[in-house]
């Protein structure tokens, strides 16, 4: 437990459900799906022809010339960071740029650039490869672009832990503020890999849903008929701030980031541990870190991606680490799985659930798995006054991250 309080003062997102936080949250509460058919020509031969694609294209927001120099993941990160920064309402002189850091990740990196430029290389030769290729494909690119945009000078940290990236970036921000390395950290993650190669790769692992004829029903965490995750793209950003720094500038505070737990499985490079041992340790660590007990956790925005093994392992883990009382949801049922950006978007959903006293639904949970013995906000949003909530994120590589947010 730390004696330094860290609070959330700004939120930003661009997702398959909306171009900003407000529209994304509205869509979640209404139980809308962001999944649609892939109409691109390349999708024809793929076993998976659905995805959750951005609602508002970056070209509608970022200047054309600037966008030529950015990978789609970078552009989405910048868009959500701009929103979060504006939302946090920093007045001129209310922060020190040398105490402003960025902790931002991506699960896969600038893969659209890598593959697009490779196509140019093969077709037209090395001279035609864009001179912007390297800053577009580098995995620290989103963090660096956000740092550049905001003039952050306390370090730009780039996280990569697959589907736990966004949550781990938030956890790192907590550490940076607690250790006194920054007053304010812009944290989150972005992912833009709607392209045949990553889709074919995940599909070859049999990790993705092939419910091509019913896109909106494809992402169905904990349902008996779930058959894999649905790829999503998007970005989410949180502005995290030392509580006394936020108070001094009269900032509006959404929530406290009370604790974080990070563990690794040491089990398999991609298979989740069916006993969820690493996840249990991460959840328990976060609870201890927050100075709470399992009994305090009322709601969990679960990792639950709609895969057969992972979904049920996490249920076991939550039961063991927290108990049988929390009400769960998986917003991936609506947003699809944003991979590296999932933890960032789902942190935002967790924070807004606390703010509004409402848990967004898990849609498509028509026939719950027999082993689902915890309560889920199925089908419809659930009004519950919340004081403490958790967000779980697990990633290929055996990464487990649990974050705890509380009322300010």
């Amino acid at each position: 437990m730390s004696n330094v309080d860290v609070v959330v003062t700004g939120l930003g997102a661009t997702t398959p459900l909306g171009g900003d936080v407000a529209s994304t949250w509205d869509a979640m509460l209404a139980g809308r799906s962001g999944v649609s058919p892939l109409t691109q020509e390349w999708a024809g031969e793929l076993p998976v022809r659905i995805a959750a694609q951005l609602k508002v294209d970056p070209s509608e927001i970022i200047d054309r010339v600037k966008l030529r120099r950015m990978d789609r993941a970078e552009a989405m990160g910048v868009i959500s960071a701009r929103e979060a920064w504006a939302d946090a309402g920093f007045a001129e002189g209310s922060y020190d740029p040398e105490r402003l850091a960025v902790s931002y990740g991506t699960g896969i990196g600038g893969v659209l650039t890598t593959l697009g430029q490779n196509e140019i290389l093969e077709k037209s030769g090395p001279r035609r490869v864009s001179p912007h290729t390297v800053p577009m494909l580098m995995p620290n690119g989103p963090a660096a672009y956000i740092g550049l945009e905001l003039g952050a000078k306390a370090g730009v940290r780039a996280m990569a832990s697959a589907c736990a990236t966004g949550a781990e970036a938030v956890a790192l921000a907590l550490d940076l503020i607690r250790l006194g390395r920054a007053d304010v950290v812009v944290a989150g993650s972005t992912e833009a890999v709607v392209h045949p190669l990553p889709i074919a790769g995940f599909a070859s692992m049999r990790a993705m849903s092939t419910r091509n004829d019913e896109p909106e029903k494809a992402s169905r965490p904990w349902d008996k008929n779930r058959d894999g995750f649905v790829l999503g793209e998007g970005a989410g950003t949180l502005v995290l701030e030392r509580a006394d720094h936020a108070a001094a500038r009269g900032a509006r505070v959404y929530a406290r980031l009370a604790g974080a737990g990070i563990t690794s499985d040491g089990f398999d490079i991609v298979q989740p541990d069916p006993e969820c041992n690493g996840g249990i340790r991460a959840m328990k660590m976060a609870i201890r870190d927050a100075g709470l007990t399992g009994a305090d956790i009322q709601h969990v925005n679960a990792h639950a991606t709609s895969t057969p093994v992972g979904d049920m392992g996490e249920i076991k883990g939550i039961r063991e680490a927290i108990g049988s009382h929390p009400i769960l949801t998986s917003t991936k049922s609506m947003s699809g799985h944003l991979l590296g950006a999932a933890g960032a978007l789902e942190s935002i959903a967790t924070i807004l659930a606390l703010r509004d006293g409402v848990i967004p639904p898990t849609i498509n949970l028509d026939e719950p798995d027999d082993r689902l013995d915890l309560e889920v906000a199925a089908h419809k949003a659930r009004s519950v006054e919340l004081r403490v909530a958790m967000n779980n994120s697990f990633g290929f590589g055996g990464h487990n991250v649990a974050l705890i947010f509380t009322q300010p």
Partner: protein, 80 residues
């Protein structure tokens, strides 16, 4: 063979596409870096696009001599 005016206007189109330069600002006396705000990476793109558009080869050691739009027009006119 393109005329000087045609080359200048062709460079204007490239500069607009690559660096967002207003084609009306493109004139022979303008410096790429100081007047038109074209940075070194964008200049690489301009050169490659100009090679393709005008069917010339502009070697890297020549690029450093192309300070102004007029320098580029001279080079393209003499070599295409």
């Amino acid at each position: 063979m393109a005329t000087r005016a045609e080359i200048t206007s062709g460079l204007g189109e490239i500069l607009e596409e690559v660096a967002g330069v207003n084609p009306d600002d493109v004139a022979e006396e303008k410096s790429f870096t100081d007047d038109l705000d074209v940075d070194s990476l964008s200049m690489v793109e301009v050169v490659v696009a100009a090679e393709e558009k005008f069917g010339v080869k502009i070697p890297d050691n020549e690029v450093q001599n192309l300070k102004t739009v007029g320098d580029a027009v001279n080079y393209i006119e003499a070599n295409h």
